[in-house]
Amino acid sequence: MSRLLMDRWSVKPPSWALGVAVLLLVVPVGWVEAEQSPAAVDAAPGGNVEDGKRSLTTYTCSSCHGYSGHGGVDVGAPRIATTSMSLADFTQYVRQASGSSMPRFRAEILPDTVLADIYAFLKSIPPPPDSRSIPLLNDL
């Protein structure tokens, strides 16, 4: 988290929040990126897209990264949708988070199978539209 963001909070913000994965158990599964294709694209071997979509909320990232992994600037959470990381790198990212950015999610609380599902879901999300193609963002 940038110092500026820290300064804007009169109480200490969650400095760990870079990419913290958190859940909202009751979020409807249908809330996803509209661009998403129903068919998994380059999904993780063995990962289940629908389960991953659900687990993103249940286990992991939605509070900081959004329901479709689009990222949260305010808390410094990067976009994780359409990740270019390999499953191994993604797993390492989650398991060995620095602690200053996000807590480590060990296999005991976030099993490998669940992580593979989440990875499959994130891989299935198409890239965001080019900002230059969005009139509202070009006529600010």
């Binding site: 940038s2 110092r3 500026l4 963001l5 820290m6 300064d7 804007r8 909070w9 009169s10 109480v11 913000p13 969650p14 760990w16 929040a17 913290v20 958190v22 859940l23 909202l24 158990l25 009751v26 249908g30 809330w31 996803v32 990126e33 509209a34 661009e35 249940t58 286990y59 939605s62 509070s63 900081c64 959004g66 329901y67 479709s68 689009h70 990222g71 949260g72 600037v73 305010d74 808390v75 976009r79 949708a81 602690g99 807590p103 480590r104 999610f105 060990r106 005991e108 609380i109 976030l110 965001p128 539209p129 080019d130 900002s131 969005i134 509202l136 963002l137 070009n138 006529d139 600010l140």
Partner: protein, 548 residues
């Protein structure tokens, strides 16, 4: 009493009615004709004070609030604390009944808020009331501005004035704010002009539109970056010298303006830290709002806005042609940095653009498209909704933004936005409130106040159905302890049932639409709501948003 209060120039007095102020209330209504001040009916004392907070941040002068001295002040206390932290003057009057042992009166009502107010009194005569009422106003408005409290006993309000009593109303003279010591200001100017990479760090530096202009002038004179915590509308958001805090990493000299919490540890180790702040001129100790001791190399205890004209002149006297060339090169570096940040924000805003729930960037962009050619004013905090409004909108004028809350107490934003919108009304400005769902539910009765008093404003919900920051904290803690993170919503989610904010607002006289989940529906909904607001009524859009 009204002969004393009226010349102080209050436009409005918020009130939650109570028996111990009936004498004063009746005088406002009938003796003063309910004008200057006009009573604004509030359904909770905290709302009455928070409205006055928001009003000041647009109008630059206090709004009075009239509440009951015991239970009323207990309700109002968090809002008083927010105003204290935000250095906002509130003129708080409280009814009390010291001669009635059966009443819920209190011996020293102001004691409860004395840790976060600037001055209080409980006058026992009309003559003392007159002195204290005028003094309270002057003290509240002297930087550092803060809330003041007057306890007004029922006897003073209702007892007949004995025939032949001679009373007079003291003339109000506002204090000129403290200006920095000339020698110290000259030293600050010398250090800034000779710096290789000076940066201005601003927090509550601009009290008025003039303060904003001074900061722009100083920054442009020096071609110095400006890092703004946006507690006030200090600096234009699209000015190329507007920078994020990463610029501190290059700064050899940092001037903190009304920014006493800027820590030396956030700067380069050998950076020179200068400070102009009114903080130490008056503060309290029990409730901490001051952070670590600043360890400035030059510290000037003075009002920054009042000191800036002198500092600007001192800087002008010292700028040479050689330094000017250095300044211009610095400007190019900062402009490039600013443009890259703007482009990065555009790119990030596109992520999740078509998603449902709606991304907070999409909400901000859809709003901006429809308000940017109007005389708009953001009457809520800008640090909600992922700060997208600040990142995407072009904030230039002082009334474009009221800054943040001071205390970060939940429940401030909704009533403060209504108070700010009340101040904007006579100027014909379009008031926009980006409203967190959890905050709205503290004082939902404020919606009725806005409708009843015909205060036009557009409220757009950041409805993520949770206290989302708290979800983050609990999940963080669970992960660190290697426990179940899947239960972190317990105590934090606001669902099951989902709150229907549109129905809530409609029930209190607002135009409302929602829940809106499809981003494609948002633009047309904003258009319809703005048409209502421009007719002079409040409107609310319940947008279901991403968590952050």
């Amino acid at each position: 009493m009204m002969d004393v209060i009226k010349p102080l120039g209050f436009e409005y007095m918020s009130i939650n009615p109570h028996s111990s102020s009936r004498g004063l209330q009746e005088s406002i209504i009938n003796y003063s004709g309910n004008r200057d001040p006009e009573l604004i009916t509030c359904l909770h004392e905290e709302a009455a004070v928070a409205m006055a907070h928001g009003y000041f941040k647009i109008e630059g002068k206090p709004m009075a609030a009239l509440i009951y001295g015991s239970v009323g002040l207990q309700h109002a206390s968090m809002a008083v604390y927010s105003a204290f932290c935000d250095r906002v003057p509130i003129y708080l009057m409280m009814g009390n009944e010291l001669e009635n042992p059966n009443s819920r009166s209190v011996q020293d009502p102001a004691a409860m808020v004395r840790d976060f107010t600037k001055w209080d009194d409980a006058p026992v005569s009309l003559d003392q009331f007159a002195n204290s009422a005028v003094r309270a106003y002057a003290i509240a408005m002297t930087p550092p501005t803060m809330p003041v409290v007057l306890s007004v006993d029922e006897r003073l309000q209702e007892n007949r004035i004995p025939r032949g009593t001679r009373l007079r109303v003291p003339k109000l003279t506002l204090n000129a704010p403290a200006q920095g010591d000339a020698t110290a200001v000259a030293e600050v100017a010398r250090l800034l002009v000779n710096a290789e990479f000076p940066v201005l760090a601003v927090e509550r530096a601009a009290r008025t539109e003039a303060g904003l202009s001074y900061i722009v002038e100083l920054a442009e004179l020096l071609q110095a970056g400006v890092v703004d915590t946006i507690q006030r509308m200090n600096f234009p958001s699209r000015h190329p010298l507007s920078q994020d805090s990463g610029v501190f990493g290059s700064a050899d000299v940092v001037l903190a303006l009304e920014h006493p919490r800027l820590s030396r540890s956030s700067l380069m180790q050998d950076a020179t830290l200068l400070s102009i702040s009114s903080h130490d001129l008056f503060t309290r100790s029990n409730y901490w709002d001051f952070g670590s001791y600043q360890e400035a190399d030059v510290a000037i205890a003075a009002d920054a806005e009042a000191t800036l004209p002198l500092l600007i002149e001192e800087v002008k006297r010292r700028v040479t042609g050689d330094r000017q060339r250095v300044f211009e090169a610095r400007r190019a570096t900062l402009e490039d940095r600013f443009q890259r940040a703007l482009e990065r924000n555009r790119r990030l805003a596109a992520s999740g653009w078509n998603g449902s729930p709606i991304s907070t960037a999409r909400v901000a962009a859809e709003l901006w498209a429809q308000i940017k050619n109007k005389d708009w004013s953001l009457v809520s905090r800008s640090d909600g909704m992922n700060e997208w409004a600040w990142k995407l909108w072009d904030f230039q004028k002082y009334h474009h933004h009221i800054g943040q809350s001071g205390s970060v107490g939940v429940g401030y934003s909704n009533p403060a936005s209504v108070g700010a919108a009340l101040a904007n009304r006579k100027h014909g400005r379009l008031s926009i409130n980006l409203q967190n769902d959890g905050d709205l539910m503290f004082l939902p009765g404020t919606l009725w106040t806005a409708a009843h008093h015909k205060i036009p404003m557009l409220t757009v919900m950041h409805n993520n159905r949770a206290y989302n920051r708290e979800v983050m904290w609990v999940a963080r803690t669970a992960a660190e302890r290697e426990r179940d993170v899947t239960r972190s919503d317990i105590g934090n989610s606001i669902d099951n049932p989902n709150i229907d904010y549109a129905k809530l607002a409609e029930s209190m006289g607002w135009y409302a639409e929602g829940p809106i989940e499809n981003p494609a529906d948002l633009g047309p909904a904003i258009r319809r709501a703005l048409a209502v607001v421009e007719r002079g009524e409040p409107a609310l859009l319940d947008t279901i948003t991403q968590p952050i």
